[in-house]
């Protein structure tokens, strides 16, 4: 027995796109509102202890502290310096600001002279801005990947 209505099996039909467009409009609006157009990244660092590290035998291990001063100069303090080696010079400010390319260059020289140096600590004057600290870390991490921040 045939229950088929006339015209039911016809291949000639149109897909109703209006509800699909409605869904798309809602989804696109949500994505545009919640989308972040600024890409964020992180600089990994550790928190250093305040007290200097000393070995049990009394031998001071080689350690570097990079200090950002209020005047704009960057000092390099090396402890456990081998005999005959000189303390690296500070990087003078450039136009009253920190000279970060200069810091990087000085760090490259220190890393060449002391290949055993695998980590460093960054400290700053209380008045120095976080922006300068981040820029210093950015410059130093390119040479010594393990950086600590003094607390």
């Amino acid at each position: 027995m045939n229950f088929r209505r006339p015209g039911e099996g016809s291949q000639d039909f149109e897909l109703n796109l209006a509800p699909i467009i409605d869904c798309f409009t809602v989804i696109i609006t949500y994505l545009l509102v919640s989308a972040s157009f600024v890409s964020l990244a992180v600089l990994d660092a550790g928190i250093a202890a305040i007290s200097p590290t000393t070995a049990a035998q009394g031998i001071v291990p080689l350690a570097l502290e990079v200090e950002l001063t209020k005047s704009g100069a960057v000092a390099f303090k090396l402890t456990g310096l081998p005999a005959g080696k000189e303390m690296p010079l500070a990087v003078a400010p450039l136009g009253g600001e920190f000279d970060f390319p200069g810091v990087r260059y000085r760090m490259e020289m220190i890393a060449r002279d002391f290949p055993a140096l695998k980590e460093l600590t960054v400290s700053a004057d209380p008045a120095v801005s976080y922006k300068s600290v981040v820029r210093a870390i950015e410059a130093l991490k390119k040479i010594v990947p393990k950086v600590f921040l003094a607390s």
Binding site: F24, L31, L32, V42, L43, D44, A124, S129, V134, S151
Partner: protein
């Protein structure tokens, strides 16, 4: 006089061609979904702190969020310490270099995080924050057991 008015009546049942519109929407949707990142939207500073710009391609890892804004320090979005122009109030005296209220909240969070052994913290600090404030926050984090820092920055092009 010859009339220029067309005698043919305009049809009222005009159908809008939405097939091409659906195509455009589909392309837009695919593009937005591809660029959508849930991590970044959750990392946005709650108090509109101006993050510093730096070159880095390290992707942030989900962990405890400490935000330093001009008027407050927020831990996971909750205001914990009130600041005055990025600095602690003189009444909030440091105890072994750290801030008391900040230490208590962080120590509590550390107990919760100890289960999955996560010692990471995400630091979202305004670029104008003085190092004295950063130092006290770091001391509080270190004394409560958070020793690995992730300094959140705006990735430079």
């Amino acid at each position: 006089m010859k009339t220029f008015v067309k005698t043919k009546k305009m049809s009222c049942d005009m159908a809008l061609q939405i097939t091409s519109m659906a195509d455009i929407f589909m392309i837009l949707l695919v593009f937005l979904l591809k660029n959508y990142s849930a991590t970044l939207s959750s990392l946005a500073p709650a108090m509109h702190a101006k993050l510093p710009v730096a070159t880095s391609d390290t992707i942030p890892k989900e962990s405890l969020k400490i935000e330093i804004a001009q008027s407050a320090i927020l831990i996971d979005g909750k205001p914990t310490v009130t600041l005055k122009n990025f600095e602690f109030f003189p009444g909030d005296a440091p105890v072994h270099g750290s801030s008391g209220p900040l230490y208590r909240v962080l120590a509590d969070q550390r107990k919760k995080a100890r289960a999955n052994d996560d010692s990471n913290v995400l630091l979202l600090a305004d670029e104008r924050t003085p190092y004295s404030t950063i130092q006290r926050v770091l001391a509080s984090a270190a004394s409560s057991g958070f020793v690995d820092l992730q300094l959140v920055v705006v990735a430079a092009e």
